[in-house]
Amino acid sequence: MSENPTAPGLPGDDEPGRRRIGVYICHCGGNISDYVDVARVRAAIADDPDVMVAETTLFACADGQQHTMVHDIQNQHLDGLVVASCSPKLHTTTFRGVSRRADLNPYAYTQVNIREQDSWAHTDDHEGATERAIALVKAGIAKTRLSTPLSPLRVETVPATMVVGGGVTGLRTAIGLADIGLSVIVVEREAELGGWLGRLGPTFPHDTPGRDQIAGLVAQIAQRPTITVLTDAELVGKTGSFGNYTAKVHVRGETTDELRQFQVGTFVIATGADVYSPEVGELGYGIDGVVTLHEFGTLVDEATGGALTWHGRRVRSIAYVYCVGNRQAEGNAYCSKFCCAATVHASIKVSKVDPSIRQFHLHRDVRAYGRYELLYTESRERGSVYLRYPDDAPPAIEQSADGRLAVTLVDALTGPDELTIPVDLVVLVTGMVPRQNEALTSLLKLPTGDDGFYNEIHPKLRPVETVVDGVMIAGACQGPKPANEAVSGGLAAVTQSAGILKRGFAELDPLVATVNEAACTGCGECLTTCPYDAISAYPCDTGQKALVSAANCKGCGGCVPVCPEDAIDLLGYTSAQMLAAIDGLADREPVA
């Protein structure tokens, strides 16, 4: 390959403009080298006049190899780096780090994927895989040859967070944010703080009344002057860019309504969920004595005198029917997570009120996970009986002639014959449903899952971030969960907000679109293309020009092909770089 073509516009071998690129071809311990002849790949590009270092390595990502690369970059004065290894998703950050440590601009680094896109896909064709690897590496070199140094975009951030929702998650999040040094605005739609938990009596696992938990949080908030609480208020507008948003809040006053504005750096959405409300007739709902878990909780908390009564009649036996409106083939398929533990806990409360009450739990798996297992054990020891009914045959609930209720089911452990349990009260264990919040959802462009709850980017790796920059979600608006887990999510959002806002500025990837003003004719095609509203138009002498807000641009490149004048370029992936890469792939003279 001694006749390796040189890129257009670049001078010849001895001229000062020639690049000094280091190329490292990884074996990946055999993942690549078992199918790709890495020595041949190295030989194919080693003679490229822009390639100063060409090596194969067992593991490019290994510490020792990283040191070698830093050493090479510094000693050979390299100005470009190509690593042919695995997917960029895996190690882009690793090798950008190598570049940075060697004082090389991180954006002069190109990762070439010869594992997922080559060796793994072509295990049956070693020759073809090797040729393909050569082409991919050449494309990478060609792209790197045209790289220009880029610096991260720096945006100033506002040290304030708006928490939407004043339930347990929102309140605990507000306290966490205030304690970490950010000012907080809590926006609650209702007149009172507290949400669902604020209406509950003793809750699992510690028997602390929900009301007291909320009262405790509200008292802590009162001691923190950096927290502003707005009730009867709704978020109605959001403008601005990453780290510096203007939020408009509509506050309903006694006499007049008010529109207030706040500058905030991030949002934490903690709008919670609603409880499922059964249809009349669903599992006997509507019959006297058939109640939901929520209604039952109130009944138990208000029981006095060592007896549980329903409409003046003493309750002797109770049947709990689990998974109502949840885990259904038709309808809500998800599990609400809290209801098993809540019901088990309620049954313990019942047995404390009147130990002689017989309690039957008709379930489809008791998901009393973690420490809630202890509650489950306690309830069994107190005499609760658990019966599993088949997924496709829910219990039938009827009123018998004497006004009592008859619950008929098949118990997995004694079946297949049906059992009829005569009871005084049937409790439908209802789970959570997503809260109807369309205005907020569309205002913030929050992504919603099939189940109607808000979606995070990744449930484990990025559990509170959304695809919308600066907007985090926490608590039951993300999916059903017990209060403690909701609060954990809120605290994760605190940390995340602090990570963004505490430095006072944020660095964004510079891989964004730029407009060549000279070429832009102001046709406006790009304005409607951008999914992030990052492109705006500004007037100038010759009409109007397009302007890309770097803070809002996500570098998707959607506007580049739209521009009829080719006036938009994506930094790091310029048109010239991409064309050169294609030439490299095809291994021929550059397209003009």
């Binding site: 002797r316 039957f360 054990t377 069994r380 452990l413 059992l419 349990i421 009871v423």
Partner: protein
């Protein structure tokens, strides 16, 4: 078919013992470790489930209750400490109380103090009744003329009457139990007596139940190896139990032989006979066997030698005590009969002996003794079921 749950069953069962069984979560460790739970039998787990849910008919129709010999392995291995072994014993008590019609068994099991009073009163009744008919003047005769003191006719007919009453109450219970078991197992008359093959099966099952298991104690001996080899042979439960059964049956046999001899005109009841005389030899050996068995059981319960004897209820003590008094007073009478000068206390021990023996027989369907009636029935159904599996 829909079964209506008895929501009060568990509370009722707790009166008979088994307070811990609520903790059971049906893991089945008890079934896995039980050496007797074979042929897809799922006890004790399944039987505990019946109780928890409130399936009274299923519980009373469970032959598995009576295939358990309470070795205690299940209770030792239970992860929730629900004590399945004690539960099975409790369920047997509940079954005895449910099968018999008078409610006396329920009193004995659930109110042990009142039960003891009843037991004493019954014995006292027998004693007083005989005393009203006794010839108190005969006490000082030169020989110990027991059957002149209380006429042998009286003892005989009182015994017959007691046996008839016992059999009537017992038969009632056995019929109820049989129907419950047959219903649950789906066994019909045709299955047990409908054909020659059915009769052959029934005969084989009856032999397995009465011969191999009840008299031979085969599974108790071979499978319930909870106490082997740690327990010395002399206090292994199956042997002690077998000696008690054999002793009791031996004494029963000796009594029948004695009566047969009287009918045949060879020897009148109460006539002094030498030790080698068949009925007396049998009676002495059987009596020693019974006394050994009952005494070891009492000691074992007192000292809690085995898991099975760790918990003792009033009914356990009642049966053993009645058996022990009967056996012991029998030997006291032996001594009195052959003492040189007939002692006066011999008459009183005789009175006590007869009264307690009568009571023991009369109370069979109501005390723990009832297992002697019910267990063979269950083992019969067990043998039938095993035959069907094969």
């Amino acid at each position: 078919m829909t079964t209506v749950v008895d929501v009060d069953l568990m509370a009722d069962l707790k009166k008979f013992g088994a307070t811990d069984v609520s903790a059971c979560f049906s893991c089945g460790t008890c079934t896995a470790i039980c050496p007797l739970a074979d042929d897809d039998a799922t006890f004790p787990r399944r039987v505990i489930r019946y109780a928890q849910v409130g399936l009274t008919d299923e519980l009373l129709g469970a032959k598995e209750l009576w295939t358990c010999y309470h070795c205690g392995l299940c209770s030792q291995s239970c992860p929730t400490k629900a004590d399945p072994g004690e539960f099975m014993a409790t369920a047997r008590r509940y079954a005895i109380a449910s099968y018999e019609p008078t409610g006396l068994a329920r009193v004995i099991y659930t109110r042990p103090k009142l039960g003891t009073v009843v037991a004493v009163l019954v014995a006292a009744f027998f004693a007083l009744f005989m005393l009203t008919q006794a010839d108190l003047g005969g006490i000082h005769s030169p020989t110990l003329a027991l059957f002149q003191f209380v006429p042998s006719e009286l003892v005989h007919w009182l015994g017959v009457g007691t046996m008839v009453a016992m059999f009537a109450a017992g038969a009632w219970g056995v019929v109820r139990m049989t129907r419950a078991l047959a219903r649950r197992d789906g066994v019909t008359w045709a299955d047990v007596a409908g054909s020659r093959a059915a009769l052959r099966r029934s005969a084989a099952a009856a032999w397995s139940s009465l011969g191999v298991e009840s008299l031979g104690q085969r599974r108790f001996r071979e499978d319930c190896h909870d106490d082997q080899p740690a327990e010395p042979l002399w206090r292994r439960r199956w042997l002690v139990h077998a000696l008690t059964i054999w002793g009791f049956l031996g004494l029963f046999g000796a009594t029948l032989i004695d009566y047969g001899l009287e009918l045949a005109g060879i020897k009148m009841t109460g006539t002094p006979i030498p030790l080698w005389y068949p009925s007396r030899a049998l009676g002495t050996v059987a009596g020693l066997s019974l006394m050994y068995g009952v005494t070891v059981f009492l000691l074992s319960r007192w000292r809690r030698w085995t898991p099975a004897h760790a918990t003792s209820t009033g009914s356990d003590w009642l049966l053993l005590t009645l058996l022990w008094i009967t056996g012991c007073t029998g030997f006291v009478i032996e001594v009195a009969l052959y003492a040189g000068q007939p002692p006066v206390w011999g008459y009183w021990f005789f009175l006590l002996h007869v009264a307690v023996a009568m009571e023991l027989m009369l109370m069979v369907p109501f005390t723990k003794f009832a297992h002697a009636m019910y267990r063979p029935v269950a083992l019969f159904f067990y043998a039938l079921a095993r035959d069907r599996v094969r």
